[in-house]
């Protein structure tokens, strides 16, 4: 067991003891148990799976950021982290459509921004389908 903290600019989204976490770095998927070596990861815009102390599995949509494992505490610092029930599905759908239209006619510099937007919307939609087990 180790402690997981997910901190965003707005609030502390999660602070509990967990058994296992699985996440996606910009190089690929990864997971960790307790007593790992100290670790720094750059997180991708992707889903974040948590197995809590009582065996319950919950999900977060994490929008990039860093994760640090040290002394049995895993700290995630991200721009945003949302639970499935917090996600506004309609809004995500709308923003996805808008970004897809915009990306056709935009110059190179802003393209990356829009790609990120699309990725965010996609991951929101994906996470909103998940249920806690």
């Amino acid at each position: 067991m180790f402690r997981l903290r997910i901190i965003t600019p707005e609030k502390v989204a999660f602070d509990k003891m967990v058994n296992f976490i699985e996440f996606k770095t910009i190089n690929g998927a990864m997971g960790t148990l307790q007593n790992r070596l100290p670790l720094f990861v750059a997180l991708d815009i992707a889903e974040f799976e948590i197995e809590q102390e009582n065996g319950k599995i919950s999900f977060f949509a994490v929008h990039g950021g860093i994760g640090e494992f040290f002394n049995n505490v895993f700290t995630v610092l991200s721009d945003a982290a949302e639970r499935p029930e917090d996600i506004d599905v309609e809004r995500a759908k709308r923003s996805l459509e808008r970004a897809r239209v915009d990306i056709e006619e935009v110059e190179e510099i802003r393209r990356k921004e829009l790609e990120m937007k699309i990725q965010r919307a996609l991951i929101r939609l994906k996470i909103s389908q998940k249920k806690e087990r």
Partner: protein, 295 residues
């Protein structure tokens, strides 16, 4: 005879009263805004603290400095851009002017190393335009509530300017509230980063490498730094406004007291004078009557 003066005083009192209503309302608005900002900052503070310390740990474990050397402090910069952040509205005491004066002082001390100003806030923009300063860009109307996204895009813009290579240092001058009563001005170096090469005794695993990682999280780091700066300066502005308006309200109260005292004294004076006039004339009439009676 004296009615004109009395009327004038009365008019003055009512005008002071309406000004007082205004200053009191503004004080209240400032207080409400302040509460909101303070709540924001409290939530955000933990995030920023964690992020800064994490960032330091990552940057101190960089081995291959060449990859990110553009962003790292190496020698005294020779082309400094100063970002000045102040408010869009007046009526907040000396808040805006303090910041402008501090930035002028900084320009003087930099001398030849000074490049240009980047201005946020219409008050500063106007004053600097009047003084004929070199302004690279100015952003106005960002005041009401700083959003995280705004801060992010602003910091991206600054990084883009820095990346062009014309300037080699970005400094930010902004208001900072030491306490709710004392407002001061803070001068921070935004870019490049100073790396503390302290001996790090923990060896971390990196995924990806520390250099790669630094590049990836750089925008996020600067965004959160910018957001903190914006929040701090807004809090300082609202504090300054609150104090200025409180003082104004108190002054108005004092003025009103003075004037109503003056008004009452005057009124009493005229009444007494009239009474004296009436009694005098009736006395003299009485005297006339009695003398005629005698004759």
């Amino acid at each position: 005879m004296g009615r004109g003066i009395l009327l004038e005083i009365k008019r003055k009192i009512s005008s002071i009263k309406s000004t007082m209503h205004m200053t009191r309302a503004m004080e209240m608005v400032a207080t409400a805004r302040l509460q909101l900002f303070k709540k924001n900052l409290k939530n955000f503070y933990e995030y920023e603290k964690e992020f800064s310390s994490t960032f330091e740990r990552i940057s101190s474990s960089i081995e291959d400095i060449d990859e990110v050397k553009n962003f790292i402090w190496q020698e005294t910069p020779s082309n400094v851009m100063i970002v000045v952040i102040a408010g869009d509205m007046g009526l907040c005491g000396s808040y805006n002017d303090d910041i402008v004066n501090a930035s002028y002082d900084r320009e003087k001390t930099l001398g030849k190393a000074f490049n240009s100003f980047y201005v946020i806030g219409s008050k500063v923009n106007k004053r600097m335009g009047f003084d004929g300063k070199k302004i690279r860009n100015s952003i106005i109307d960002m005041y009401s509530k700083p959003f995280y996204d705004d801060a992010q895009s602003l910091s991206n813009e600054l990084i883009r300017i820095y990346g062009k290579g014309e300037i080699d240092c970005i400094e930010i001058i902004h208001g900072y509230s030491k306490s709710s009563l004392i407002q001061s001005v803070k001068d921070e170096i935004f870019l490049p980063i100073k790396i503390d090469k302290k001996s790090q005794n923990i060896s971390y695993d990196f995924e990806p490498s520390a250099e790669e990682m630094l590049k990836v999280i750089m925008p996020q780091y600067f965004g959160s730094k910018m957001y903190r700066i914006l929040l701090e300066s807004r809090i300082s502005e609202q504090n300054a406004r609150q104090n200025a308006m409180r003082n104004a309200t108190e002054n108005a109260k004092k003025l009103m007291d003075d004037f109503s005292l003056k008004y009452n004294k005057m009124r009493q004076f005229y009444i007494t004078q009239e009474v004296i006039e009436i009694t005098n004339s009736s006395e003299s009439l009485k005297g006339e009557e009695s003398t005629t009676h005698h004759l």
